[in-house]
């Protein structure tokens, strides 16, 4: 199952899935990630290609179009669910961190 293989998403994986909440082609995903993270997270085309293949195989994303040069992708419903779960998990981490820091350093 997809969730077992991608139990904890790496940063590149997380940002790729975020980028694919909207239909995008490969290079566009790279640009969006670099722009939104201020070049803190960069995903090379080879890495992106491999991850897109894995996500597609696991049914997390699907190919929408192929104009012969570029393919576009978007999250599937199970992909959205998985991303949301991860997003909520990360929010929980930050919230727990906030509480601990406030109580220890207030």
């Amino acid at each position: 199952m997809a969730r077992q293989q991608f139990q904890t998403l790496t940063e590149p994986m997380y940002y790729i899935l975020l980028a694919l909440t909207k239909e995008r082609y490969g290079y566009e995903v790279m640009q969006v990630i670099a722009e939104k993270t201020n070049n803190r997270v960069v995903v090379g085309p080879g890495t992106l290609y491999t991850l897109l293949g894995k996500f597609q195989k696991e049914g997390i994303i699907k190919q929408v179009s192929d104009d012969g040069r570029r393919k576009t992708y978007i999250l599937t419903n199970s992909g959205k669910e998985m991303l949301l779960e991860e997003y909520n998990r990360l929010k929980m981490l930050v919230k727990d961190g906030d509480n601990i820091f406030k109580s220890n350093y207030s």
Binding site: G44, P45, T47, G53, R70
Partner: protein
């Protein structure tokens, strides 16, 4: 390395794990004014450019392995994605894809995640490793079958060299398999320790690849020469002798065929393993088949005693003649006649040197004595020979019915239903040999 004005070629025999050292080599070549143009038939071809400071990326397309052929459209998408990112596509060799850019462009590297990079490389080489391990197992089995080294291996060039070729082939295969396995283990450890992936040394990898390539060509040439020499002695067996050359042809057909087959990976694995096993079984079959006789009549120039020579007028059921030869034993023949009254066989051997003849002679005697037979001197009857022995079955009615003679580099073995110590038979044998 060969070059004309505008192109340069170098031997290109590298493993997938050498990808990073290849990147550094291509950058070095670009600084010297040579840009990689294509890789074909194990040669890298460079074209002349202005010396440039280029950055290269040698990437592994993740969907090719020995069991998976590239989907052309998919590979095109992969190359297009790298080109969209600013990389210029140079060329490919199997699963290696080479891109470059100007150094000042400072592009995002093609691979930015070492764990993904390691996984792709591992996926690419693991199937090769598993096939090589199977090859190692089959070669070891062949070596076991052919040991201990038998004197009969000296009678054909093919059988003479095979027991030496198998271990040499084994060393060649083990060398590259061990290198790949070591890389996988080190890569996993490095990822765990937060270190970069291991990088092989270009010069060492090139040396190993070149040695392996030259060595393989050498082994193939030796095998072909041995087979041609054997075929000149026994042209009946040309078809059988050429059969081992089917190995590379079959493997090539498999690799080409796999591109079009829409079958699951497990079926492809089974298919490839079956081909490898079938080829090795066929090779053993050929080796055994080569020792069987196709001819009946004694050929001129070869020694063979007939029933008529011994004054026996019998109706023959069957006769056979077999000849072989090698660089160490130029002449080996076996002629036999079978009837309901008698059986008669002559083995005549001529070697290149008396020491080889002595070795074969002693081994043949040992073989005969395994079957509870008795050895008796025949020097009194067969004068002038280095060695002369009768071999007999102590329980048989007829004594002295088998004779071994050794003179210099010649051996004669006669197996009959007569007492060969009788003077009439001694005279028949001595007269025929002198002719």
């Amino acid at each position: 390395m060969t070059k004309n004005k505008d192109t340069k070629r170098e031997l290109f025999i590298f493993s997938t794990v050498d990808y990073f050292s290849l990147k550094e080599h291509f950058e070095d070549m670009a600084r010297k004014g040579w840009l990689i143009d294509k890789i074909k038939y194990s040669f890298a071809v460079y074209k002349k450019i202005e010396p440039s400071d280029l950055t290269f990326s040698v990437d592994i397309y993740p969907k090719i392995s020995i069991f998976e052929a590239a989907d052309k459209d998919d590979m095109k998408s992969y190359i297009n994605l790298c080109e969209d990112a600013g990389w210029i596509y140079a060329t490919s060799s199997k699963n290696l894809h080479i891109f470059y850019s100007k150094k000042e462009d400072n592009l995002i590297p093609v691979q930015t995640d070492e764990e993904i990079e390691r996984m792709v490389i591992e996926k690419s080489i693991l199937p090769e490793i598993s096939v090589m391990i199977l090859d190692v197992f089959i070669i070891l089995l062949n070596i076991k079958i052919q040991l201990p080294y038998d004197y009969e291996n000296l009678f054909t060039n093919g059988r003479l060299i095979m027991p030496f070729l198998w271990p040499l082939l084994l060393i060649n295969i083990i060398g590259s398999t061990v290198g790949n396995i070591a890389w996988i283990i080190k890569a996993k450890k490095n990822i765990k320790d937060n270190l970069p992936l291991p990088v092989t040394n270009y010069k060492r990898s090139k040396m190993i690849g070149t040695i392996s390539f030259v060595f393989s060509i050498f082994l193939i040439i030796i095998l072909i020469v041995a087979m041609i020499l054997d075929a000149t002695i026994n042209s009946n067996k040309i078809a059988l002798l050429m059969a081992p050359l089917l190995v590379p042809i079959i493997i090539y057909i498999y690799i080409k065929g796999i591109e079009t087959l829409k079958i699951s990976k497990i079926i492809k694995i089974i298919y490839l393993c079956s081909i490898i096993v079938a080829v090795f079984v066929f090779t053993i079959f050929i080796t055994l088949r080569m020792s069987s006789s196709d001819n009946e009549n004694l050929e001129p120039g070869y020694i063979g005693f007939t029933s008529e020579d011994f004054g026996a007028k019998v109706k023959l059921k069957h006769k056979y003649f077999d000849k072989e030869g090698s660089i160490l034993v130029p002449k080996y023949s076996r002629y036999g006649e079978v009837s309901s009254e008698i059986g008669l066989e002559t083995v005549s051997i001529e070697t290149r040197g008396s020491k080889i003849a002595r070795y074969i002679f002693d081994e043949m005697l040992i073989d005969e004595l395994k079957y509870n037979r008795v050895l008796r001197d025949a020097d009194n009857e067969y004068l002038g020979y280095d060695e002369a022995f009768y071999i007999e079955n102590p329980n048989a009615d007829i004594k002295n019915n088998s004779l071994f003679l050794l003179e210099g580099n010649k051996i004669l073995f006669i197996d009959t239903d007569f007492d060969l110590s009788e003077s009439k038979y001694v005279n028949i044998i001595m007269d025929k040999i002198k002719k």
